[in-house]
Symmetry: C2
Subunit: 875 residues, 2 copies
């Protein structure tokens, strides 16, 4: 006969901690604690397999179930010396749900099962605590009515309020036994009125219906929704725990509390918790009385306190992790009701992991596995004080983490101006463009009403480590009137108003929320250095400036995986030459303008090479379409015309001529290099000359020249030839620097024909932003309109711009790696899309046998940890 | 010893017609004719392998070459009884290039080699025709100087003009022997002045240098360019033909001519050609004297004529195809100088192929192979009279074939207005948009300054079978002033001016060129019906209206592969409802507007189903982004606001809100169906109700509902469910119509995950336009800026929007077919991109085992033929 029911208590148990799948987390740990000899109130767990059976068989139960429940109940009666429904020695039970993964939203708890009028009256007589018994009974009717039968709680609440008014008392506790007995009668009436039937007096029927209610609650809308949101899949269902009741409210030597084996906020190795004497668990939660810190228990009930400390030791040693436990003291006897892994802050997480290694409790691998990479983020960015109340007026995408507070500005120049005056500003725009870089850099945070996780604003903000809320659709920005209306808010946001934005949650608040500074410490470094020992993936960074490069290096970057040269083109001192180049009528004119740019690009590269002394630097040649460098607004066009001494019509004509329907798929990347080779020639020359110059100063320099947007092998062949020709000329006179020439794989066709392309490439770097755009046919700037709905409706498991799509884009990456390495064994392969900083995507990169990932500086620590976990995942 | 030299003549030859690769086309056919016993002037051919050796070995020759030439020359002297350089019995030779593929642009011919002053004087004495000999000599000096030594022809021309002036004569033929002798001296001086050396008197040196010049000309810029343009690759090089001279200008019983074994214009089975008595080949070409029709030869030289007719029979029977031959009669003796497959018009091509089958000369397979599918195009569209002179002022892409003549109009409404008044108009625009459909339909032809082969203008024009020249970059259209400037033209094109555009060549001419009507006849049908017997691919059409459907059906379409429902949304009676739907604030508002559209869509489908009675109709649900339906111009926005009784600001806001950075990758296709299910619900309902209604009238209806732009299996699952739900409701009351639900595979990810997607699809249709855009990352509307350069520089072998890219896009198609059929055996798979009408792409579709191709109505016959050729290609 298949076993569906597992008993525990009295030093033994049918199950153990490994059986979470069928016993649920709570049941498995109760069994484990019973085996450890801990004082667990005895009981039994009904397997989650019953839940599966229930839904697979039209909400019916296996034939043997109730038989097994009955014999478990009989054994329990034996063990406790009490009997279920026996007025003389009544056994009272609780019923709780408990799945393998903790999950609010399901039916939770029914207490005091086994009471009925007869039992209650007998107990009231024999216990000498009549008030207590009627309180238990009225609570049973209330909970059973609410949870099992769906009689809403307020109906009961009304009655107790009425009772208190009639009795002329304020608190529930002031009600006497008589009052409570009468109240119980009223509750039974409420129950009858709303269910159309009498409250079940038969304890076994109470038990059955409570169990039934737990299984039935597995598929309520709330529960299903919760599992969807948290991506909980693959569970059998929930288990049901039936357990002997113990009471913390039986007098001054009774009590109840919760404790963590270490401080969950800081990770400090101290016993941390609180308790209330003469109280039930719900009283601790309700917050009406102020609980005492756990240390006080030593004063009140020193034996119980000592036993608790013992149990703390036993549990931590046994589970080798911080435990979050619940206990009840019934008339001086300590019971442990639950233990589970303790939730903790990022800081605590790191500290505990490192401490436990020095304490010899866990090894380094375990420590590295213990800390979630995404949590590390919290240590790198300021956050809002969690104690502060927040009233979000709008919510967008959590595009770049951290908290920012500042006054609203609507244009980039204004942001720079105000920042110069020492103001903290939030740049609020419909979307940002490369022209806004200065203002973005000056702002404390960025808020946009359009664009997705990889929109310009989001990408640049992450690169800068600056909080950003993007694609906040409820916002309507009107840059002209310098206001932004917010759906549902009567007043628009106006320039100069204070707002607070949370790039970690996507929330936007009016006013100034208090923030707390990031905390980084030696233990993070320790943990990351262990991670470095385990990971196989290299970690590089995407950095366009010496400052970014230095910061990333401090965070542990082992090179630059993507240096975007176009960002250098936007500098105030360069943009006139860039525009002159674009407006030139012929190659000669373009070359003249490029000559002006050459020394500036060279000095950019010198700075970056110097910052990355000894490490490789991958430089991507010009990528964006040229129209991105021209001004769209009339005034700026006029200015530009004046500066270049040409007519404004000429400027306008050029802007018009360069306009593209789909710039993403337009004249950009290596297509520019093919049609205007002189641009790439200048850039390669600047790289070569910069390398030569810094080498002269003793810097070890490893340039890797990367050709973007290659779709055919021939493009790369032609541009590699150009690169080699220019480099040869540079190194003719002095100093030879070894360099590599490689390509981005970001066009689907490049992945498909990677074998051909690899013949001309020293390395591949997967540009998974663009690869995702083209593989899905999603413009990252436009997808904000439907992508959130897609994720919500589970059409996609996740935003593919955040977590690399294994099934589609991942196939192309794997094919690209395979074909590339077949054609050129040992080909170096990395990734430089935004996915390089996402833990799930990093795990994929590890599996796909990439050599490195490259991410924004602030995600380097996260990537180090994620890469280690990916490697350890294979053990 | 390797053979480099192959002799022919006197009834035998070392080579034959199969040896084109090494002997070139001309040489192989000379050998073949010699073997057939035809009167070929004897000679020898130097193998193209020598050409390869020459370029692989730094422009040197194999050691044995000159030895072999010498002995071939000796044998030739033996055969002719003459000797090279012998003043008494001089052998005169011609040297001609000849590769395996006919190819202008290389060095062509040097005649009369073997002459020098000594030989000339001796010949002048012995022949009794002094004038003739000096004429030969001066021609040799001219040709040798020009072709071998690069002395430009005008230098010689100046001298002959001077000579004529001095002699007081008008025509070359009026110059006497004396004049010509003196002229020869002058030519020798010109030669000396320009080359710095004497004209080589040694005949063997003349021969060597002429041979050398032929090999050297293989890699001249012109020749290389020609091969690039015509995609001629894989050749060894050119062969060199050295042949005994014969002369058609030795008197009144000499002559020369060209002939086709059948009429190359009509294909009629008559001997067709022309000749000149007492003339050389070049005189026929030069067009100074008017040649006589070949029949006249029977009167002048009946024996030669009879022999020629015999030879016609022999050649056609032997080659089993029309031959284009050159002949010379030297003093009553007929010589055949060349034969090759005769070029012919489309009409001739079809007629000859069909005739030859009935004559038993070739089988049906051969006939089907003989006609080039692209040529068929000419039979379906009017063309300009080839005799008319054309002076193109600009050239764009040959986007939709045919000739159109009309007056220039710059906007669509104007085009409709003028057309209503009976004018023939050419719609000239920067580019067209869906709003222009009415005007495009009204115009005789369309000319755009931007956009590629699959731009809106091009696609729609091909669908309408209307001539279109697209992406004409020399044109600058100014719609406001209603003029268009043309690069290089002093006067702009103005509204109302007559122009002629050739969609077959891409040329634009001022004024009205005469056109000739298309000719379709029974023989085309015969040929196509044979093709139908051989092809395995089904042929469907892309059609959006009953008229298109009917036309395509007449052309042999076996169903509709793509019916674009959005084209129906643009009708004047529908667009207000469409716009109301877009502007609605909520689902209820959208549903109200959709209710209005429902009866119109239903009647559209009824029309199409009826036109395609008995054949399947694949209907694609709404695909384009909604902003395409909103007007961009202020005036139209105002009109729209009035019609909908809302503020113009509201309209503007919506237009602004729907704007996309990359509409191609935006909120369109099934993404609309997911976010606004009510739109697809209305369309499905219209399809279902239309099907039910026509069924009631006895029409056999096979609807196939196609969901566009699917990228994930889940999208299709959800929308299939929607479709089935709506259909169930429609068929609840009466009539059940079987229908299929399938999807476009046009997003790379769809091809990559085709296995998953196939689980919800009854069919796949590859949308290779979008698939090409996304796989390459090319926006078809923007790629015009670099794509021509890419094709020219051979970075791409062809425009991938014209011919399907086998290496990249093709891989995805193959993967999609494989994965799809693995998951669902027997899955129906087709293609409905523009490639469905391109012969090379059709061959690919055949290989990839697709079930059908779908193309615009006018390409259906072409597709039928191409599909047959693809199938025959596998024999």
């Amino acid at each position: 006969m298949k076993r569906y029911v597992y008993a525990f208590g009295g030093g033994t148990a049918d199950g153990d901690a490994t059986m979470k799948e069928i016993l649920g987390g709570k049941g498995a740990n109760l069994a484990e604690m019973a085996r450890l000899g801990l004082p667990v109130p005895p009981g039994f767990t009904i397997s989650a397999e019953v839940c599966r059976f229930y839904y697979e068989n039209d909400r019916t139960y296996p034939g043997e179930l109730w038989e097994q429940v009955d014999s478990a109940l009989a054994a329990l009666e034996e063990k406790t010396g009490k009997r279920f429904g026996d007025p003389e020695r009544p056994l009272l039970l609780s019923v709780r749900s408990g799945a393998a993964v903790s999950m609010p939203g399901m039916m939770d708890t029914v207490l005091n099962l086994g009471l009925n009028r007869e039992v209650a009256e007998a107990m009231a007589r024999s216990s000498g605590n009549e008030r207590f018994v009627w309180d238990l009974y009225r609570r049973l009717v209330n909970m059973f009515g609410d949870v099992v039968m769906g009689v809403q709680h307020p109906f009961f609440e009304t009655e107790i309020e009425k009772a208190k008014r009639e009795a002329g008392v304020e608190a529930d506790t002031d009600l006497t036994a008589e009052h409570l007995k009468a109240l119980t009668e009223r509750y039974l009436e409420v129950y009858r009125d709303h269910t159309g039937e009498e409250f079940p007096e038969d304890p076994r029927e109470q038990l059955r219906r409570a169990i039934d209610a737990v299984f039935g609650s597995w598929r309520t809308e709330r529960a299903v929704k919760y599992r969807q949101i948290h991506r909980i899949t693959g569970l059998l269902g929930t288990a049901v725990n039936v357990q002997t009741m113990v009471y913390g409210n039986l007098g001054e030597n009774s009590g109840t509390g919760v404790a963590f084996t270490r401080d969950p906020a800081t990770g400090e190795n101290v016993f941390y918790g609180e308790f209330l004497m003469n109280a039930q668990g719900e009283d601790v939660v309700a917050g009406i009385r102020t609980p005492l810190p756990i240390g006080e228990l030593g004063r009140i009930l020193p034996e119980c306190h000592a036993r608790l400390l013992e149990i703390r030791e036993i549990l931590e040693k046994h589970y080798r992790d911080v435990q979050d436990l619940e206990f009840t003291i019934e008339e001086g006897t300590l019971y442990i009701l639950q233990t589970r892994t303790g939730k903790r802050t990022a800081l605590a997480s790191v500290n505990i992991a490192v401490d436990m290694v020095s304490e010899g409790m866990i090894d380094r691998k375990t420590a590295v596995r213990r800390v979630s990479p995404d949590q590390l983020n919290d240590l790198l960015h300021p956050m809002f004080d969690p104690r502060a109340e927040r009233h979000p007026i709008a919510r967008g995408l959590a595009a770049s983490p951290g908290a920012a507070v500042g006054t609203v500005v609507f244009d980039a120049a204004e942001a720079e101006e105000r920042a110069r005056q020492g103001d903290s500003v939030i740049l609020v725009r419909q979307e940002t463009s490369p022209e806004d870089i200065g203002g973005m850099n000056a702002a404390a945070g960025i808020l946009t009403s359009r664009g997705g996780m990889t929109s310009h604003a989001a990408v640049v903000a992450r690169g800068m480590g600056k909080p950003c809320v993007a694609g906040c659709a409820d916002l309507q920005v009107d840059a002209e009137t310098r206001t932004a209306t917010v759906a549902g808010e009567p007043e628009p946001l106006v320039e100069g108003e204070w707002i607070s934005i949370d790039g970690t949650t996507g929330e936007v608040m009016r006013g100034r929320l208090p923030t707390i500074a990031p905390r980084l410490g030696g233990k993070v470094d320790t943990l990351l250095s262990w991670a470095d020992d385990f990971r196989r993936l290299g970690i590089r960074t995407n950095a366009d400036t010496p400052e970014d490069a230095r910061r990333a290096r401090e965070f542990g970057a082992e090179g630059i995986g993507l240096c975007r040269t176009e960002h250098m083109f936007f500098g105030e001192d360069r943009i006139p030459a860039v525009r002159a180049m674009i407006l030139a009528d012929d190659e000669a004119g373009r070359r003249r303008a490029l000559e002006e740019l050459l020394p500036m690009q060279r000095s950019d590269f010198e700075g970056i090479f110097t910052a990355m002394d000894g490490l490789p630097v991958t430089i991507r040649l010009l990528d964006p379409p040229l129209h991105e460098f021209l001004p769209l607004e009339e005034e700026q066009q006029r200015e530009m015309a004046e500066k270049l001494s040409i007519s404004v019509e000429r400027v306008r004509e050029k802007v018009e001529a360069l306009k593209e329907f789909n710039p993403m798929l337009g004249h950009r990347g290596c297509r520019l290099g093919i049609t205007y080779p002189e641009i790439y020639e200048m850039q390669v020359r600047a790289i070569g000359e910069a390398a030569r110059n810094v080498l002269r100063r003793g810097v070890s320099v490893y340039p890797e020249i990367m050709i973007p947007l290659v779709g055919t092998a021939e493009e790369l062949r032609v541009l590699r030839e150009l690169t080699e020709r220019v480099m040869q000329r540079v190194f003719e006179t002095e100093g030879i620097v070894d360099y590599l020439v490689g390509t981005m794989i970001e066009v689907p066709r490049a992945a498909l024909t990677a074998g051909e392309i690899a013949r001309h490439a020293d390395f591949f770097s997967f540009g998974t932003n663009d690869l995702t755009q083209m593989t899905f046919g999603y413009s990252r700037d436009d997808a904000g309109v439907f992508l959130p709905a897609y994720v919500e409706q589970k059409i996609l498991p996740a935003d593919p711009f955040v977590t690399l799509d294994r099934d589609g884009v991942g196939l192309l990456v794997r094919a690209g790696v395979k074909k590339g390495r077949e054609a050129r064994p040992g080909l170096k392969v990395g990734i430089c899309g935004e996915h390089g900083g996402d833990p799930a995507s990093i795990a994929f990169c590890h599996e796909a046998e990439l050599d490195y990932v490259s991410c924004s500086p602030y995600r380097v620590p996260i990537a180090r940890l994620a890469a280690a976990q990916a490697a350890l995942g294979e053990d």
